[in-house]
Symmetry: C2
Subunit: 699 residues, 2 copies
Amino acid sequence: MSNTPQWVKDLVPSSPQGSELLQAERKGSNLSVKNLSNFLFTAETLIRRQEILKILQAEKVFDKSQNYFDGRVDRFKRALARSKRLRQLELEHKWTRQHLSDAADLISEPGPYGLHATMFLTTLRDQGTPEQHKLFLEPAQDYKYIGCYAQTELGHGSNVRGLETTATWNPEDRTFTLHSPHLTSSKWWIGSLGRTANYAVVMAQLIIGCKTYGPHPFVCQVRDLKTHQPLDGIYVGDIGPKFGYNTMDNGFLLFNKVKIPHVNLLARFSGVDPDTGAYIRPASASLIYGTLTWVRSTIVLQSGGVLARGVAIALRYTAVRRQFQDRDTPATTHGENQVLNYTMVQYRLLPLLAATFALHFTGKAMMNLYDVSQKTLRQNMSKLADKKRGVGPEESHPGTDLLADLHATSCGLKALASSTAAEGLEVTRRACGGHGYSSFAGIGSWYADYLPTPTWEGDNYMLTQQVARYLLKSARAVLNGNATNNDTSKFLRRFLEKQDTGAAHDILTVDSDIVAAFAWRAAYLTFEALKHRDDEKKSWNSLLVDFWRLSTAHSQYLVVKSFYEVLQSDSIEYELDQNTLDVLHKLFRLHALHTLEKEASEFFSSGAVTIRQIQLSRSKAVMQLLEEVRPHAIKLVDSWQFPDWQLDSSLGRYDGKVYEDMFHRASELNPLNCLTIDPYPESNIIIKKDDTEAFKSKL
Amino acid sequence: MSNTPQWVKDLVPSSPQGSELLQAERKGSNLSVKNLSNFLFTAETLIRRQEILKILQAEKVFDKSQNYFDGRVDRFKRALARSKRLRQLELEHKWTRQHLSDAADLISEPGPYGLHATMFLTTLRDQGTPEQHKLFLEPAQDYKYIGCYAQTELGHGSNVRGLETTATWNPEDRTFTLHSPHLTSSKWWIGSLGRTANYAVVMAQLIIGCKTYGPHPFVCQVRDLKTHQPLDGIYVGDIGPKFGYNTMDNGFLLFNKVKIPHVNLLARFSGVDPDTGAYIRPASASLIYGTLTWVRSTIVLQSGGVLARGVAIALRYTAVRRQFQDRDTPATTHGENQVLNYTMVQYRLLPLLAATFALHFTGKAMMNLYDVSQKTLRQNMSKLADKKRGVGPEESHPGTDLLADLHATSCGLKALASSTAAEGLEVTRRACGGHGYSSFAGIGSWYADYLPTPTWEGDNYMLTQQVARYLLKSARAVLNGNATNNDTSKFLRRFLEKQDTGAAHDILTVDSDIVAAFAWRAAYLTFEALKHRDDEKKSWNSLLVDFWRLSTAHSQYLVVKSFYEVLQSDSIEYELDQNTLDVLHKLFRLHALHTLEKEASEFFSSGAVTIRQIQLSRSKAVMQLLEEVRPHAIKLVDSWQFPDWQLDSSLGRYDGKVYEDMFHRASELNPLNCLTIDPYPESNIIIKKDDTEAFKSKL
């Protein structure tokens, strides 16, 4: 549609204009966006992001205007070109990992180097010996080898121990044979493998003699470094289109008895003695699994921002969109009502707005817990080493409790946070009405690309078993009087002590009582589950639904507590003005009371609150909070500081020019409009004229 | 990937094979699939579908193998070719509307003629005069004119009265001028308009003199019948890519003072006197809006089948997929557990399985209500005509109560049914784990194509206001003693009578008490809402969340009641064997008790049940029912009789050959694997070799 007629160009949206409405929203709130943004991210981070944005926007390869139109093959090509340029920019500007991660956030699409820079290099670094670092890590860091992490198989995802790919030790020539015995043993879903990688870390069952020693990581070249063709005995390719993530070439990989040298088994923690063929056992499993905990913590940290994109788009659009007059307003008042003024829309969006902040603070607390525990672990390890040398006091399990707590917390929060973000995004999309379905809304593709998160790094339902196991163990320790004095033991003990007298939480006026009510419910469900398992001897499988409920309850407690603790911190009054702090406090109460209302039946069957309290919370407190938060909605999403370039959304534009942008994209950027068809069914001609290629070449 | 090596072709999945597992599932249940299928659909329907399937499968144009790979432009071209062929087949085989609708179900993608055959022809037929039928309907029926229905605008969807497009009467030459005064007045989302239609029914504000008479339907040619280029003063095109529905060319349309003759205003119900310019008022609004009620009823009818596709895929796959050993099983037992044996998976999928049947029966009841009320309406209209001629008894509003009930029922059920189906599909997709994210799962695209349904034909949240309005009105009538004796009045009255003595529903053993508990909760919420509105004089806007809850409660009651009534019908024992009937009864209880548990807090704050009953229902009844339904799961989804060709899903294959099919699609049908790239970042070459076109031409 090259030649838009002048009369179309002259059209403007009917008044009031979107830009005026958003200006009025921003004027109507006394919140300080700047203070809040700095509090959330630090000024330094925001400046760095701005600089990176400027660099990216200046490069034609990062132009996003055809993203929503391109098919799979074109999207992949473009994504590869972007990945290459990003690596070049990294070298030019001496970017750190933080810079790269900011750039990836702004570009907002998975790229074909994604798994190289993260899982491949990390695994080589963490699990390789110095010799292997020289052999594999160094060329990989220079992108001479481009790699991926091949663990999941067609038939096995969650159950890593069930992997079918084998690596058999050959003592005669000191090699391993990688082999795929069944179709189901094909590696599958491996990011960056489909078309891009020439190397892979392959998880395979180590077999020495007739004995299997479980999955171990092997480095394996899969494509020729010059021709990029698969090597002999290797069948590799892309697994096909997906619901999202189509800029990534997730791949499959089969081995037909491929021999690799002894040095290709990553041997920092375990290995095979090349002389004797004896298996060398790992020292501690917990060190190996530290990476997964870190990945889960990152998911928690990101979840708030993931959801906030949808919330920002939906809130801005519902402030611009007007539909119907208010029913109780006299007919003399002209003009339609902003959609965001309807309580049904507020009820769907504002609790999600509150959740973005809750998740953000929880993510920061989670990362903090991770850092602290890593530090403690290192200290304890060196104490242990001292002790072995006869120095220092006796201590049996260095950091075990801490690790167990960290593991359970990261599992539970990963599940809750990624489910909340994924499901919340779909709510924000629908709250945009019909236009939410357009790609130009910018929510659909973002949602679709995020949807693997609830499944990977531990399926969200599977993970809840880890939390339950930890809580059951903690409860047993509390009952046996041998619990450590961590937060979990404390709230379990408090429940036992107060169980008879009752909870008496004043949730409607006392913030700390809200937190206590969440803890109470989690404790109640823990002891209920313990009774089923230990006293009634119920099977583990029959309790999975209870465990899932328990894990959710516990994680919701952690989120509410994290938000509460941020508001209680000493420094907050220096960092935030009182107006902004007041609004943040309302968001805390909205998040907590809305969650409480949603889960009402558990709250009162546990005795954490009374039915009357729930009813008051539902009909009074929550509705009141919606009204109080409403005037600040736009500024609150502004404080997330998403550039328009990042959101790539007509509906979420900062300036409110929603309709102009929708129209521009549909009429000026849409290749389909360069097809002239033959509409009649009796003719088998489909296309009369196809100008799509000419159109694309002009872009 | 043309040359799959022999060693890859020789691979089979590890044992047990998927086919063996599904065979065992089918052996393990005494349900009669044939009886149940005939009961659901009738034998005649199933035979007709088989015949149509055979015809479609024989035609190359309907081959689905590239559907998941094609980009937007190719998908649209293919869909247009299919639409054309479908029309040709319709003529060849003298297909009825029922045949066409079956064919569309089997093809399962929206086509560019979609809005022609439905909304365009229907509107011409229903709202045109005999003269207009000759002028527009006849050529349209012959596909000489290909049309669409242009109502929604860029700035207005739900609020039809707010449409901005104008049609101004010109007395001097007896024409109307169609005009788009603002950018927001652009028609938008109009199915079949983007590239295909040459005609449109345009809803525009009728203006005579200085007065506006609200939206009226005008027939307007938009493209040249020979060149297919837009006519003068018309700017038309496709609105761009969407989350789904990309085989349809939803379009935009702007008018620059386009003149159309007087006869182009569809004038069966209202119009303009060409001589005097006087407005001719419609006789009854209810006749005009009958179409929308019919469309909503159809959505309810289809919702069960829509959801059942996802449930069928997920249940078959989770019966084939095995992961982990049972935790409490002695380690000596070998082999992994079918995923469907985990209670957490059962808890997510089996209530949805039950919901498919509940929705199917509700849809049939809804269609029945529609047919009965149309009949009664016609009788009453003719009585009214008699009365005008002085025959028959006095009656003021013929069928008004019935229409109000029909309208409210169709609004509430449309909202509940389409939300249940849409959200349920996403649950089934996730229950398939990682593979659910692959396009080959067959759920993602089906879900994405279905997602407009919760928004169109009345946004699901908006519609709940209609239900609340009806229930409030009914409650007032009951309190005033002037209610008609329909089901709504009955359950409201029962609540008032028993309110003081209490409900005492025995939900755990008596089926009719379950239905009564749902009615009780709906009645309680109705009188609560009435109190807020009439006594406390709360604003309509402040009650929208209560209204939404009320509407949901009422619609859930209707669904449970519909399922119950099917089981109570006299004929059922002749149509179904006892085994099958027993399983159906379990599904009824599972659906009802699971819904009750999910909405627990409303059930006990209304006094419909006690906390103890909920706890027992949750921990005992529901878990027990899951165990009892589990053995019949596969046969229950078999009874929906989806051919593999329709599901187009690797995971949902009837024969259980899940992994073979996934692998075949990824390696043999995937054009991306015909690209050889240059992987190194320092090279700006992306593609070394591109064989995609050669690959496509070979297909």
